[in-house]
Amino acid sequence: MLDLVGKRYYWFLLSILVIVPGMISLAIHGLRLGIDFTGGSLWELQMSRPVQPGEVRQVLAQHGIDDALVQTAADNVVLIRMRELKEGSSEKEQLSAALRDTFGDFTELRLESVGPTLGTAIRNRAVIAVTLTMLGILIYIAWAFRNTNNPFLYGIAAIIAMLHDVAVVVGIFSILGWLRGVEIDALFVTALLTVIGFSVHDTIVVFDRIRENYARRAAPTFEQIVNYSLVQTLVRSLNTSLTVVFTLLALYLLGGETIRTFVLALLIGIVSGTYSSIFNASQIVVVWENRELHRLFARLRRQHAPA
């Protein structure tokens, strides 16, 4: 039989190799926060002729906005990121008039404005939402596994797997923010919470097998029971992830620009979630049940003990 549990420290190492660069990037560059969190405006206009970002910046600068980010896209679309531009304000009227004077008529595709105080509130809520989700799931798992000899162990192992997925997604998005200017918005938080849900979904299926095989004493040692359960559920885990990845890939490639970042976060998270439920969550349970950390510490203490 395939030995997945025996190689557990290699799996942990692989996770660390993926997470660490992201965490380093997070420590140095942080996340590129979008207007949902920082406050500000996102103004998308469709001009009647091709326009250079520099020209738009020049017009904006003439009206006292010198820190605007201007991007152009297909179909003469111009995307402007700037400090809060209030809907219905005289400032917006003046800017629109100035742009019209310079570039001719345009269609306003969208304007999103978030006040600065609201941004902070949203940031706090996002953290609370992620924490609450984890707590809710921990409690549910502890309840669902109440008949095992260590219900909270399963809950905690699932949470660690979740944190793993959050770290992978956040880390990769920190790198993407740094390299490609990808911004984090409220939808990113939505994706993160969905990934958390999915990761646990996957983890529970494996745990459920362990619970069942343990009750039947399907193998002599706990380690073997976990390995047996993993092998049994491996195909299912991969198949499920594959079907979700199919649908997400279709959305990513064909679904349009507006939700591409959102779908990418889901895609990364779901691949990571599948990995962590097979190669991390159950392995953590084994590490704990074998008291391996205990032994590690004992060995370290012996080595450092005075002769």
């Binding site: 949902d36 469709q46 209030k86 809907e87 219905g88 009227e93 269609t107 306003e108 595709l109 969208r110 304007l111 999103e112 404005s113 978030v114 006040g115 105080t117 609201l118 509130a121 809520r125 996002a126 939402a129 809710g136 799931i137 549910y140 669902a144 409220a186 939808l187 939505t190 919470l193 969905t194 849900g197 999915f198 646990v200 979904h201 996957d202 529970i204 299926v205 459920d208 069942e212 039947r216 559920t233 195909v235 299912r236 198949n239 499920t240 079907t243 979700v244 199919f246 649908t247 997400l248 890939l249 279709a250 959305l251 064909l254 679904g255 349009g256 507006t258 939700i259 959102f262 779908v263």
Partner: protein, 497 residues
């Protein structure tokens, strides 16, 4: 009493027909017009429109209670209805905010102008003075600063008047910088007149109006006409009959918009002149809806043009179909006959979910569509779990009927536990969405929740019944239908666990 598989099958057929009937656009198969009100509700990001978050900015020393906020919300709702938007959303959020969504509305300037203005109407006794239009006054209803904190344009085209900080307690010279006593004035708009003058008596307020509407005066000019409630009309008659040939001013948000000389006793109706067409339309709507109990400021807004959304819908539908096709192909290739059954179950699943979206109704947003497509993946998962179990049982040499039942029983705890954990995150998302992007994120949470709930139903009821019915036919007894070769089956079938 045990329900037979064919009875369940009949139920599934009826349910599916009903769902498909709901799914079809309303003009199809609808002789009695039952479906007329059942439509797909599109969110702002799909059909375009405006979303505003208004925050109460009460004058210093005033706290906004839930009742005040609720009253303000009701006023906003009346104004929104006056704008002629179908299916608007107006809800309070937290203790100080009101969320407004105007799907399909494409004039953000007007939306802000109409909704944000306090629109407190007063008719004041000017004590014989002829107050010029644009004058900011104090009235017996309260000093100018309390309700005119939001600058509003007026007909005169004069600079918007926001009064300077009016110190309410004039006797105390102590200035405490940390606690401003009144809202500060916007520096670039100096007030037309210092509102520190006399306090004029308010005779009639906006609350006394029975109706307000755009109309024309005797010269054909567009004006706002208003009617007074009976008791106010009596008071107005008393006042106007005793002040003939004296001036009287109409004030909105403490700023004079009309001053006229009383020629005759007036009882129950009047007009407000010297406004342009747009102002007449807006003011009539505002007066009819009533004044805001507290000044509001726009703290968040989203305006989406209609073209962006339509493009997104097209792309999402294509993506959804391609995704569904890939999943179907994979399931059939890997799981053979059960895979085919699960594809049928998936199609039924999609029809149920879409019917529920229409019936509840769920506001469909772009992330909502993504949530739906994601839930297809989760619906497949339930089937995958069951089939994997059935295969295991078959490999152990169990008869097909027994293997199906055992497979379902063993798969159920996993399906239940994993779906409940997804539902927990959906509920928290829903709460988070209420605070952040409103319907955008809430739509996602709701669609995913419904999707997961319905997927449990289709896996447990639909897939199971179809399997039971089909597999009792001798034609399907061959294990190759399940993608298992006879060599893989354990030699000695175990009777019991």
């Amino acid at each position: 009493m045990r329900v037979r598989p064919w009875q369940t099958f009949l139920f599934i057929v009826l349910l599916s027909l009903a769902a498909i009937w709901v799914d079809l656009p309303s003009q199809h198969l609808d002789p009695f017009g039952w479906k007329q009100n059942i439509t797909v509700r599109q969110g702002l990001d799909l059909q375009g429109g405006i979303q505003l978050v208004l925050e109460a900015r009460p004058p210093a020393g005033v706290t906004v209670t839930q009742e005040v906020l609720q009253g303000t919300r009701d006023t906003i709702e009346r104004r929104v209805n006056g704008l002629g938007v179908s299916e608007p959303v107006v809800q309070t959020r937290g203790n100080t905010q009101i969320l407004v969504e105007l799907p399909g509305f494409q004039d953000p300037e007007r939306a802000v102008r109409v909704l944000q203005r306090t629109a407190l109407l007063e008719i004041i006794d000017t004590q014989g003075q002829f107050l010029p239009v644009g004058t900011v006054v104090n009235t017996s209803l309260g000093p100018a600063s309390e309700s005119a904190a939001t600058p509003t344009p007026t007909s005169t085209g004069a600079a918007t008047a926001t009064p300077d900080a009016t110190v309410t307690a004039a006797g105390s010279p102590v200035v405490d910088a940390a606690t401003p006593v009144a809202p500060t004035a916007t520096p670039e708009t100096p007030p037309t007149t210092e509102p520190t003058g006399p306090v004029y008596e308010t005779i009639i307020t906006g609350a006394d109006l029975a109706d307000a509407y755009p109309t024309t005066d005797q010269f054909g000019n567009l004006v706002v006409g208003f009617e007074l409630k009976p008791e106010a009309a009596e008071k107005f008659y008393q006042y106007t009959s005793s002040h003939i040939d004296q001036p009287m001013s109409i004030v909105v948000d403490k700023q004079v918009i009309n001053t006229a000389t009383i020629r005759d006793a007036i009882r129950d109706r009047g007009i407000i002149q010297r406004l342009n067409a747009q102002e007449v339309r807006d003011l009539a709507l505002q007066l009819k809806s009533g004044a805001l109990a507290v000044p509001l400021e726009v703290v968040q807004s989203r305006t989406v043009g209609p073209t962006l959304g339509q493009d997104s819908i097209q792309k999402s539908i294509v993506a959804g179909l391609v995704g569904l096709g890939l999943v179907a192909l994979f399931m059939i290739l890997y799981y053979r006959l059960p895979g085919f059954i699960s594809v049928i179950a998936l199609l039924l699943y999609a029809s149920y979910v879409f019917a529920l979206f229409k019936l509840i109704p769920v506001v469909l947003t772009l992330p909502g569509i993504a949530g739906f497509i994601l839930s297809i993946g989760m619906a497949v998962d339930a089937n995958v779990l069951i089939f994997a179990r059935i295969r295991e049982e078959l490999r152990l040499g169990r008869p097909i009927a027994r293997a199906i039942e055992e497979g379902f029983n063993h798969a159920w705890p996993s399906i239940r536990d994993s779906n409940i954990s997804t539902m927990i995150s959906c509920m928290i998302l829903f709460w988070f969405g209420r605070y952040v992007g409103a319907t955008i994120i809430q739509g996602f949470a709701l669609t995913l929740f419904i999707g997961v709930a319905v997927s449990m139903f289709t896996a447990i009821v639909v897939t199971r019944t179809l399997l039971r019915l089909l597999l009792n036919r001798p034609l399907f007894r061959d294990l190759r239908w399940f993608g298992i070769s006879p060599a893989q089956v354990a030699k000695a079938p175990t009777g019991a666990d």
